[in-house]
Symmetry: C2
Subunit: 332 residues, 2 copies
């Protein structure tokens, strides 16, 4: 099978929102008047972002999910994406499963494949995603990292740390019972981008980012862009790890031989969570709760923005904890 | 140097056309009313699209050039691009040179870097480029592959085959004198995307594509999309190889020990040319010549579109030649 047959068989589909899709030198889109286009690119590399032998269906899902998560963090509605794919070989069952996982998530979000590239080389997946953000009275409704204000509440959606727990288990560093591993592994391999929540937070949240490198590291980007500091309740965050015994989400009680310190590290710096971390004025608490309900997404208040620079971590008694949680860095 | 310092140092620049550039979850663009956005992605892999030890400055140039060439083939005006980069290591001199080559070409075309991704991994460069296409009276002015009509002339811009000649020389398959290698190598490493010509051809050309996989292979896409056939004058195409002794472009006369058959193969199936291949009605010959002049780009008529399917090659005496020229295919 050659390059063009491969594209035609697995990746060429009719477009509805775009003017022109796969099959010419460029795709064509005509954004609706009164909207902006939100654009984000993510590159996933074999052996770094995923195991080389990962299930190709979940890999297809995750490759698009991490991009949709960026649109979610801007409050954008997904429209379309391009896919550039470097493959070591043409493995048809692998490609069919990859395309199935990818396009199922794309269809679920009305996000259509409009173009891209395929080449031979080490396995590498680069997706660029396009979303729509409304402009109201000349003001973009996009959620940015730079809008956090002193006194704002800090929230995170869903659960934290389980993706990292699964990774550590698969790497043989932790021994997790199969029931818990299944849940954690789903968070690692098939994260659900918080697209509906992001859109519901437009006009409510003051700043947002998606948690990819770890909660505190990504919070650091909001603080830097907003010129603010923050206080985070570490033990509230711990309870957002679905596998944590006191989280009420855990499927059973196990002695996992994981210290409180390790739970904190999973929650605060685990990474690969693809949850939304966002800020909103305390006057908006009801609106935040409503946005969570409307999007069927749990949201938890975990701290507060402060005018003083720096990040303070406190435990459940309000005692300051040392902050030595490093965010993920590809070159650190 | 960490991932975020790397981005800040080499790739974060103020934006003029985009609403928001590098540094948030998404970039934001607001296309002008009455325009469409043309979008294309290309992925370049070390050892396949370029030698691992290639000059990083020319690699930066070429990575964007091949994308701008896709915009040119649609007649789009370049606006912006995203860059996803997988790097085996942080090599600052390499990165500085890569960024310099990339951004010099970007600046020359008013095409700004608005976002992307960096990760560790085998060297891989994925660029997605955005351009603007006017819509006039509700009709997109984009040049597509599908508009060729029976009787249309077939044209190609610039020169053909020299990039492949340089590649073959660097691979030790041909012995080219240094003067000719310098010219040919510039065509391989720093192709000039035909952006101005593409825009000048809007409303003149009926179909267009950029020559990346080889003239005949890329012509095949136009024929397939347009449901047409063609006749190509092989010996007119040969003279478009700048290194061909009779091309009048050659810097000197050398006995290169290259057969006529090899010259034909270079011109018709060399690949990596990044010239525009396009069709236009014979009534538009003056307009095509004018578009070439206005964009300072040579254009040469090399054949004609026919209603009958199939591709006929003829020599300078009009005799049919066998067509055994394979287009480049990453998986063939």
């Amino acid at each position: 099978m050659g390059e063009f047959d491969l594209i035609a068989r697995y990746f060429k589909r009719p477009v509805r929102q775009a003017v022109l899709g796969v099959g010419d030198d460029c795709a064509l889109m005509q954004p609706r008047p009164g909207t902006q286009m939100a654009i984000s690119s993510d590159m996933l590399v074999s052996g770094r972002h995923f195991f080389a032998d990962v299930n190709p269906r979940t890999l297809g899902h995750k490759s698009l999910a991490v991009n949709l998560s960026d649109l979610a963090a801007c409050g954008a509605r997904p429209l379309a994406f391009t896919l550039a794919l470097s493959l070591p070989e043409v493995n048809e069952p692998w490609l069919a499963a990859f395309a199935e996982g990818l396009l199922a998530l794309a269809d679920a979000h009305g996000c259509e494949l409009i173009g891209g590239d395929t080449t031979a080389g080490p396995l590498n997946i680069c997706i660029t995603v396009f979303g729509e953000v409304p402009v109201v009275n000349g003001r973009s409704q996009a959620l940015l990292r730079s809008g956090a204000q002193a006194g704002d509440d800090i929230y995170v959606s869903g659960t934290l740390g389980d993706a990292r727990l699964a990774l550590n288990t698969l790497l043989g560093q932790i021994d997790l019972p199969p029931e818990l591993l299944a849940t954690a592994r789903a968070r690692l391999e098939t994260p659900a981008p918080r697209v509906a929540l992001g859109q519901a937070l437009c006009g409510v949240a003051t700043a947002a980012i998606d948690v990819s490198d770890g909660l505190l590291g990504d919070l650091g980007h909001i603080l830097e862009c907003s010129g603010m500091g923050a206080c985070i309740e570490a033990d509230t965050a711990i309870k957002l790890v679905a596998s944590y015994p006191d989280s009420k989400r855990a499927t059973g009680q196990f002695d996992l031989k994981i210290s409180t310190e390790q739970w904190r590290s999973l929650a605060l710096a685990g990474g690969d969570d693809y949850e939304l971390l966002f800020t909103a004025p305390s006057a908006q608490r009801a609106a935040v709760a409503q946005a969570g309900q409307d999007s069927l997404t749990p949201v938890t208040r975990i701290g507060q923005i402060r005018a003083e620079c720096g990040l303070q971590l406190v435990d459940s008694q309000g005692q300051t904890l040392p902050n030595h949680y490093a965010s993920f860095d590809h070159f650190a």
